[in-house]
Every structure is written in C-alpha cells, then in structure tokens.
C-alpha cells in the first residue's frame, strides 16, 4: 500500500536534446529507457526543477552566462531554432497502489508546453508557464511498482529575436505567450538564450484514497477590534471512486509552541 501524501521527484532526472534522441516517448518509457552509462549517449544528468540552460551548465556544456560576456558565446534560440532547446527529460519512480488508492502526477510549472509519457501512455500538457498540471496516473502505473517517465518540453511559441541594440524586452514577441518576458533581456538583464525553457518547478506524485482534497481556501474575518476572529475555509473535494463516499472532514488549527508542543 502506497503511503498517502506527496512524494517529490527531484532526483535522478536525465535530459537530452530532442534532435539527438531517435526513440519515441513510448519506446523511452517501455522498451528503451535511456542511460548515461554509454559515453556516446546524448543523455546527461538533468537539473529538475530547472531550465535547459541550467542542465547544460550543470554538464559544463555551456559557459556560465552570468560571468563577464560569456552569455554572448551561448547560441540564442532565435538563431538555433526552437528545436535546439526542445529537450527530453526522463526519470523513474516507484509507486504501487493498493485497492481504492489513486495517484496523480503533478507538475507545478513547465515552460512552455510538453508531452508526458508514462509507461508508454502519452498525455499532452497545454501551454502556459504559470499553471499547474495534474494527471491521474492511477490506471497507468505498472503493477510491479516500477514506473518510467519521460517528458518532452517545448520552448515558448514566440521566443523572439534580440535586436542588435537589445532594449527592454527585445522585439517583444515573447509577450504573445503567457510566459516571463524578462528573458528577452532588459536594461538590467542579458537575454536568456533558452527563454527559461524547462520543468522549472516541483514535480510530485500524490497518493490519496478514494476522496481527494483540492485547493482549500482560507480566509479570516475580524470583529470587535480584532477580538472576535473567524477562519473561513472552503475546499474542493473529489470522489474518485465509483461508489458513495461517507466522509468525516476534519479541520484542525494549531499553534506550534516551543518544543513541538501544539495548542489545539
């Protein structure tokens, strides 16, 4: 039985430039998982969460863009084309559910769009740098608990071209997407050559029973000069099972005193 709760996937990620990977996402997550054992392999250790440039710097394949004029030596996406910074990311994880358990694969943020392959199953993730993605993977986890995950990440649709004179936000093309605009350069920042393409925030697996808590909202209200205070709580609940769920919903508010004692 898998433990209820969240497991962050932030170790053991590999990455490779998509133009150097001949296999499909289905092959990578079924018959041909990548490995870095072979020195000629295009795969390398990845920085996840992070960006493609972060992964390339981690493997010393680019100079550090923030020293001297070294950013000038890094190929800009306007010159290389988007496929140059379109990268595969791969990892494996263990998760074995028991009856009535459900699992989600969560990406807290990806820049800019992606396709996810898990054990040969494909899921296309919609665009947008500032949105969470959650995929119900309950039915596509491997029975033996060993799971192979590959994600191909595409840069912003409109990375833009940096004018010779630079300037605030370059040629402003990036503003056509819902993504950070600073990456085209400003008077205080050099252009970011990959436009921050990558799995740039937390990846996690969350395991629940039949009922899941989603996006609670906590608000307080105050009366009588802050003597009388109320906590208002609203939450979404999802019954993932095929039968009526009789629930006990609990909310507890505690203050941590010294020595891990709680006031309830």
């Amino acid at each position: 039985m898998a433990e209820i709760g969240k497991t962050v996937l932030d170790k053991g990620w590999l990455a490779a430039r998509s133009t150097e990977v001949a296999l499909t996402g289905v092959q990578l997550t079924t018959s041909d998982p990548p490995s870095i054992a072979d020195p000629t392999s295009p795969w390398m250790e990845a920085a996840v969460p992070g960006t493609v440039l972060g992964t390339l710097l981690k493997n010393k394949l680019i100079p550090d863009p923030f020293y001297g004029l070294q950013n000038e030596a890094i190929l800009d996406i306007a010159d290389s084309g988007r496929e140059y910074y379109t990268f595969w990311f791969f990892t494996s994880f263990e998760c074995k559910l028991s009856n009535n358990q459900h699992a989600d694969l969560n990406f807290r943020a990806i820049n800019y769009s992606a396709e996810v392959y898990l054990n040969g199953h494909k899921e296309v993730l919609p665009k947008g740098m500032f949105r969470r993605h959650s995929i119900d993977i309950t039915d596509i986890l491997n029975p033996d608990g060993q799971n192979l995950l590959a994600v191909i990440v595409y840069p912003p649709d409109h990375p833009g071209r940096i004018p010779p004179a630079g300037g605030q936000g370059g040629d402003h093309e990036i503003a056509k997407d819902v993504a950070a605009q600073y990456v085209e350069g400003w008077d205080w920042m050099t252009p970011i050559r990959d436009r921050n393409t990558g799995i740039w925030d937390e990846v996690s697996i969350t395991v629940t029973g039949p009922v899941k808590i989603v996006d609670p909202h906590l608000v307080s209200s105050f009366f009588d000069d802050y003597k009388r205070v109320y906590l208002h709580t609203t939450t979404e609940l999802v019954n993932k099972s095929a039968w009526e769920a009789e629930c006990s919903l609990n909310i507890q508010v505690s203050t941590e005193l010294e020595g891990n004692m709680c006031l309830v």
Binding site: L57, D177, T190, P210, F222, F223, L237, W243, I251, T255
Partner: protein, 229 residues
C-alpha cells in the same frame, strides 16, 4: 474551538466545493509585517477520512491572521496600506527573480528574503516581466514579514509601450492568460504575506483580461463588514 469535524457524503465521481462552518478564535495572535510585530503563524490541517477506507487525503498550510486593506490616496495618487487597522509606511524592494536559470531552491529563497527583511524592507514587489513567485518564496515572506505585491504578466515595454511601440493587446491567447492567473491565485492565495494582485507593470492589461481579473479578485461582500473593511 480550533477543531471541527463535518460529515459529508459524496456521490460517485463527484467534484464538489465544500465550506466548513466558520471557526471562532478569541484574540488570536496576529500576523504583522516586518518591523510592526510578530509574524504569528498557525498550522491549518484538513484531513478527510472515508468510511470503510480510513484517511483518504491530508492537506496542511501555515496561516496568519491578518487584515490588509489598501486605498488610493486622492492627494498623491499613491496607494496607502493598513495592516490589522494600522497604517504602514511601505519600504519595498523590486523583485524580478532569484536566478536567471531558475535554480530556485528553498535555501536560496530563504537567504534572499531574509536579506530583504534584514534591510528593514516590508514589501517585495514581484515585477510583471518576471515570475509568479513560488510557494517557497511566499513561505519565507510569511516567515520574515514581507508583504508581497504580485503582478501578472504584462509590462509596459512589451504590452503597449516600449521602443518600438509594442502590441497593447497582450498575449495571443487571453483565455490562457486568465486560466494561468486563476491557477496562480489558487496556488498562492493562502499566504498571509500576499498583499496585492496587480494587473501588470506600467500598463493596464487588455480590457477583457483586466475586467475578468478585477471581477475574480474582488473582495467577497461578506468580508466588507469585518474590521476596517
């Protein structure tokens, strides 16, 4: 007084929104910005147990009781803030992001934000051309008492001004912008340091986006009446 259990029955496959009865507190410790008092935080934990199964899910978040009100000063056009009824002189730092390769670790956030608190700042302004900052950023702002002014992804330079003059109509996909904005609000809304959502930098978003944001983010009428509302 700080524990509530409710019986809820969910039909198969249901996706519902449930509101707890409000929890009463008498003179709880309030959360204050840096320099005005203690950043008192409570731990709120929600669990759901299902009959015949056991604990099905658990969610927890730290929470600070505080009331932030801001108004426009008609004489100066500036925005005046009050926290828990007390006016506050804002000493803010402009914030883009911590690292251009998005190496955004907890340690990095903790160091950056404590540095701003040590400089006696009491606000961080997340600029429209940067990021919707992450839960870890907000967690340390909660901890160190830094109010956060979070802009959405519109800048004067890229969205209507600049040189050459750029396109004022924002991103190609307005619905995507609003989807991202709403999802970002859900991600960050429980942080006591979150003081203000702003449409963009030096520019008003396209009218449909702006109207939708203002509508979505308006204060619920119920809370108009609580102290200093």
């Amino acid at each position: 007084e700080h524990l509530e259990t409710q019986k809820v029955s969910l039909s198969p496959g249901a996706h519902v929104q449930y509101t707890f009865p409000q929890l009463f507190f008498y003179k709880p410790s309030l959360w204050w910005p840096n320099g005005m008092g203690k950043q008192s935080l409570y731990n709120v934990e929600i669990t759901v147990d299902v009959k015949g199964y056991g604990e099905s899910d658990m969610w927890s978040h730290h929470f600070g009781f505080r009331k932030i009100v801001s108004t426009i000063d008609s004489s100066t056009g500036g925005r005046l803030f009050k926290v828990n009824g007390q006016p506050i002189f804002i000493r803010g730092g402009n914030w883009i992001l911590s690292d251009g390769l998005l190496r955004l670790s907890k340690e990095r956030y903790k160091t950056d934000i404590k540095f701003h608190a040590d400089m006696n700042f009491n606000m961080m302004r997340c600029w429209g051309g940067g990021l919707a900052e992450r839960p870890d950023f907000y967690y340390y702002c909660d901890l160190y008492g830094l109010l956060v002014w979070q802009e959405f992804w519109i800048t004067g330079d890229c969205d209507g001004r600049g040189d050459p003059v750029s396109n004022p109509d924002g991103p190609l996909d307005h619905e995507l912008f609003l989807f991202c904005a709403r999802d970002t609000v859900k991600l960050l809304r429980n942080h006591p340091s979150l003081a203000l959502w702003v449409g963009g930098n030096e520019q008003v978003p396209p009218s449909d986006i702006n109207e939708a944001l203002k509508n979505d983010l308006q204060l619920h009428p119920y809370f108009e009446n609580s102290n200093g509302g």
